[in-house]
Amino acid sequence: MKIEKLFHKLHAFFNTDKHKKRQDIEELKKVLLKLKKKERKIAHALQQTEDCNLRTHYQTELNIIKIQRKKGIEALQQLKERKKT
């Protein structure tokens, strides 16, 4: 197992660019997952509330998260394509 770990580190060292791209993809996926959870939470809160001002606030927040997720998914697709090339 130690040799495997060492090999993995050496591989990462000699393929720094690929390793960085993989890291970027992983980080982006994590953020997208957090955004998805947040979106579900806000959508649930929006359904539960009847206060007009609060509903407007939640709706705006939901719209923002949707655009952030859309941007994130586009960025992820671009990163995956760049990794292939």
Partner: protein
Amino acid sequence: MHKALLLIVILLLSYGFWLSDAFKGIAAGVSIFLFGMLSLEQGFKAFTGGVLERILQKTTNTTWKSFGFGFLSATLMQSSGLVSVITISFLSAGLLDLVAGIGIIFGSNLGTTTGGWLIAGLGLKVNIAAYAMPLLVFGVLCVFQSSKHLKGMGYLLTGLGFLLLGIHYMKDSFEHFQSTINLSKYAMPGVKGLLTYTAVGILATIIMQSSHATMLLTITAVSVHQITYDNALALVIGANIGTTITAIIASFGANIQGKRLAGSHLLVNLLTGLFVLLFVKDFAIIVDRISEYLGIAATDKAMKLATFHSLFNITAIILFFPFINQQVMFLEKIFIEKRPNIFKPKYLDASAMDFPETVVESVRLESIHLYENAIHIILRTFGLYKRDLQTNDSLKQLIEQNNQPIEYDIDASYEKRIKGIYSAIIAFISQAGFTWQMTQSSKLSWLREANKHLVEAIKDTKHLQKNWTRFRASSNQATINEYNKIAYQIALHIQKIENFRHEIESNELPLLSLDILKAAIKNDDMQMNRTIETLIRERKITPETGSSLINDCAYMRSIKKNLLKTAETLFLHGTGNGGVEQQLALNDTEINDIVQPVDTK
């Protein structure tokens, strides 16, 4: 070193050189040794720039880890002085707490004793110059490279080479020295000898600013029987007390925490020194036993001195390490922090200048201090205090209830609370002496921008104040309501920023969550403008008042945007998924698309 003292030292050395060639060699050996330590210091600094901060944060969250960090770094760098300076700098910048700092000092005190083993075990027994020369050659080769890391490696190699060369010269020169002058004639037995040689050890270490150099002189002298073993023990005790001078000097440019750490270092070493002096005979016996166990020859005084040096610091650990928290309480009573002057810089200490990470953190903390003063001014303009943001009372009601004219001199407040600190921050940043390649330089640039945004927010508040004061005294309730709304929105925005700031640790996506505040700024602005248009159309306010309101809404928008940009820089330090979140954060166009026009009818 004070100029007068420097002159005296130069004169004494010159006299010594005239008297004896061997003395010249010894002095040169010490100088080369000290130069080697300076090179090592230079070499290690090349590897800072975020690395040191990350290592410090991970390795100093418990006292034992701090101890381990101190031990390893002093062993690698062969300098407890450099470790003290690093610790005091990071402590002053708030990157470490005092308990961790004291732990590091204990570790570095023990780590530095490895130098004694190196000198006694290797330096005096092998042809050390043979190892020094290739180190110097490869080191100098690397120093001339353009890569920062290769250059740093070069300084490390040359530093090590000079250390070994210094030991070699000293060893050779002492051997010649003993044929001309026999220092053992000046040996002093008994208590008088103990106290005199301890004082000599303290003085020598203070002058040379290096306990390593004193140890080197002592070990070499004892190996050629120039001084007696008992007097050598006293010199080692003196060296351990004198070594605290580096921390004391570093603390002059530090804040109260740095001074407390230097105080702790002096206290521990001084008390341990007194303890060891009282029981020096017993310690000598313990050293003999340990040497026997380790297979050190009874006649090998040099190795025994190295053992004694380590034993001294182990004694300090046994006596004081379990009582670090009590030490901290004692030091906090002795070194009382003066009530900070909110009008003066709190964090911009000279000691923080030593490392890029500490410069950035000091500037960030001082910028937060400036931010606190700025929001005080903005809130006071509208008759509010920061504590009003934290009460359950409605901000709207507080603003509406306060219908008396508010006379608040923003210019005077700016001069008192902002200008001095802002100028000090700019001056501090401009003195930061590292290259533009380092990431800390861009962080300083953002912090400078953040401070600029704060000043712009205050200037916009000043512009807003004129009409705010004028129209709140009017008889037109609609006008008063709109100006109250402006004040309310600014106060609410500050409240939201404060909530964001205090909940940042639990916020998984802090940067992205600021987009909702950006959208709120746009939304509020649109709503206000629609309302003003409606009021003009319904002739509830005059067009002239309406135009003033529209201008003042623009100031309101500018204040909110500037405060938000400042918050983004100051409070998102090291949190969240930085780069990824920045990619996903919405720009102005995207926010405009989201914010829906409001129907006010």
